[in-house]
């Protein structure tokens, strides 16, 4: 059948692209054609062409180099924030669902309170209080983003708790920890993969937005969002300052989403692929 093979190829391509990007980001100091902070006012707003493949920004800095260095920030923030958010959400959700009682109440009410406050405002408020820095960005995204996954994992765990095979595991004399880790959690992973991938995408976007608003990275550090920010005013004459960072964000989000879909299907024992 054609469709599964297509998805296999596209997924491999996504994985390869992301891996390449990550590699390029890591090796930025050696791969970037120019110093990302090198100001060259004479060439400000240089059009894309040889030597400046993606153009130059208002201070004449090479956009390609800034994008590569910026990838470190964006991907780094994206991955760590998503990982933190997913781990915290999965852990709290599983505990709430499996242990129940007062712990469930505590965790879920905290989640309810957090979810009542509109996410963006909460994050902005926290960033203003904590001060702009990359670590704070990650912490804030993790602290506000765990609630959705916690709810989903709790629901999965609650429904799994009543299944015969979990009862069988308890009947075998396994400790509650073993039952939770070996039987319940592996079967509750579906929302976790989705959360991880959407989390990466969302975190990158959130970091970009925060940098766009000046609450993320501070100049002269490059991040995709900050490049977008500075390109905002000059969209008419220097389209490359918004288009290329935007494309980069789009590409990463797309790739991560497809990979997440693939992971979800791969780990589902029933779907053939």
């Amino acid at each position: 059948m054609g469709r599964p093979r297509f998805w296999q190829g596209a997924t491999l391509a996504c994985g390869a692209c992301l891996a390449l990007l990550a590699l390029a980001a890591l090796l930025a100091p050696w791969v970037a054609p120019a110093n990302p902070d090198a100001i060259d006012v004479l060439h400000s707003f240089g059009r894309p062409g040889p030597g400046q493949w993606l153009g130059r920004d208002e201070l004449g800095r090479d956009v390609l180099s800034r994008l590569l260095y910026g990838a470190r920030v964006s991907l780094g923030v994206g991955l760590s924030a998503a990982l933190g958010m997913t781990l915290l959400g999965a852990l709290l959700g599983a505990l709430a669902g499996y242990v129940g009682g007062w712990l469930d109440g505590l965790i879920m009410r905290s989640a309810d309170v957090l979810m009542c406050i509109p996410g963006v405002y909460l994050i902005l408020a926290l960033m203003v209080v904590l001060g702009p820095s990359l670590v704070n960005v990650v912490l804030v995204i993790v602290a506000t983003g765990w609630t959705g996954l916690a709810r989903l994992v709790r629901a999965e765990v609650l429904s799994l708790k009543g299944r015969d095979f979990v009862l069988a595991a308890r009947a075998s004399g396994a400790t509650p920890a073993r039952v939770l880790l070996r039987h319940v959690l592996p079967n509750a992973m579906a929302p976790v993969y989705v959360s991880l991938t959407f989390g990466v995408a969302g975190a990158i976007l959130m970091e970009s937005s925060l940098s766009f608003l000046g609450l993320g990275v501070q100049p002269p550090t490059a991040s995709w969002g900050s490049i977008l920010n500075s390109g905002r005013e000059s969209m008419a004459q220097a389209w490359w300052l918004t288009v290329f960072p935007g494309l980069a964000i789009f590409a990463v989000m797309m790739a991560v989403n497809l990979l997440g879909e693939a992971a979800r299907r791969h780990f589902n024992p029933r779907e053939p692929w």
């Binding site: 015969d164 095979f165 009862l167 069988a168 009947a171 075998s172 004399g173 024992p269």
Partner: protein, 274 residues
């Protein structure tokens, strides 16, 4: 025969959502002071229909779903008085086979891992020893060794039930509670699974509590029968007596409901493939 298990005064309530009205729940009494004794190596049938409380009784006997009142004394130990880890250790001798072969196996574990779970928990077996045990167990229930790597969804209902049985007998439990182990299977397969249980029981001198709603299966397998209706025991006694001279009207009702077959007197069905 020495007494292995004695349950007395078991009471269990469940709260279920109301079927009428918008909100609220009502309390359903699933066990109304039920008692049961099982001797070493004995096979006892617990017979009843849906809602009789027989499945709840099965779970209560193993203290998987602790009853609200009453106690179960197993091999001289009161299960109610046991601490959590002592109870867990005792589970190697108290095992269960569940009704639904499609729900009782972890869909993500391979079959070898499933059947050796109890051994991993109680005897800390690992690696090659565990693999050998898996092969031994699978072959004991009539499956092939190379099936150990496969996942449950690759097997039919009858095979899955064999896997569930292998899992339950891995630690040579002294008591096995089989909750409708063959109800989800075709009649032909029912006989095969019961044969397997009979063989294993004899090999290990395992006591079996056989929970079922199908009386036709009881006679060939159990020596004693306990009849339950509406969360209570209404009759009990040796299988032959209960079948030929049922005392309670409900038991008679159950007997009458057995569908007759036009078996010619003395007919012997010649065997086909085993």
């Amino acid at each position: 025969m020495t007494e292995l298990l004695r349950a007395s005064g078991l009471v269990k309530d469940y709260s279920v959502p109301k079927t009428t009205g918008w909100f609220g729940s009502q309390s359903v009494r699933a066990l109304k002071g039920v008692g049961l004794q099982v001797a070493e190596g004995e096979t006892v049938a617990v017979v009843g229909e849906s809602g009789s409380g027989k499945s709840t009784l099965g779970r209560s006997l193993l203290w998987l779903d602790p009853p609200d009142a009453g106690d179960v004394v197993f091999a001289g130990q009161s299960l109610r008085g046991l601490g959590a880890s002592q109870l867990r250790r005792l589970r190697r001798d108290l095992q269960m086979v569940f009704q639904d072969p499609y729900a009782s196996l972890d869909p993500r574990m391979n079959v070898g891992g499933i059947v050796t779970e109890n051994l991993a928990v109680h005897e800390s077996l690992k690696g090659p020893a565990l693999q050998d045990a898996a092969v031994r167990l699978l072959e004991a229930v009539g499956l092939q060794a190379d099936m150990a790597q496969r996942l449950p969804h690759e097997f039919s209902g009858g095979q899955r039930q064999r896997i569930a049985i292998a899992r339950a007998v891995a630690t040579r439990p002294r008591l096995l509670v089989a909750d409708e182990p063959v109800s989800a299977l075709d009649l032909e397969l029912q006989g095969q699974i019961l044969d397997l249980l009979r063989t294993l029981r004899a090999q290990m001198n395992m006591a079996v509590v056989f929970i079922t709603h199908d009386l036709r299966l009881v006679r060939g397998f159990c020596s004693r029968a306990v009849v339950m209706k509406d969360a209570e025991v209404v009759e009990e006694g040796p299988v032959d007596r209960v079948f030929s001279r049922p005392a309670h009207p409900y038991t008679r009702e159950l007997m009458d409901a057995i569908l007759p077959l036009p078996l010619a007197r003395g007919a012997r069905v010649r065997g086909g493939e085993p």
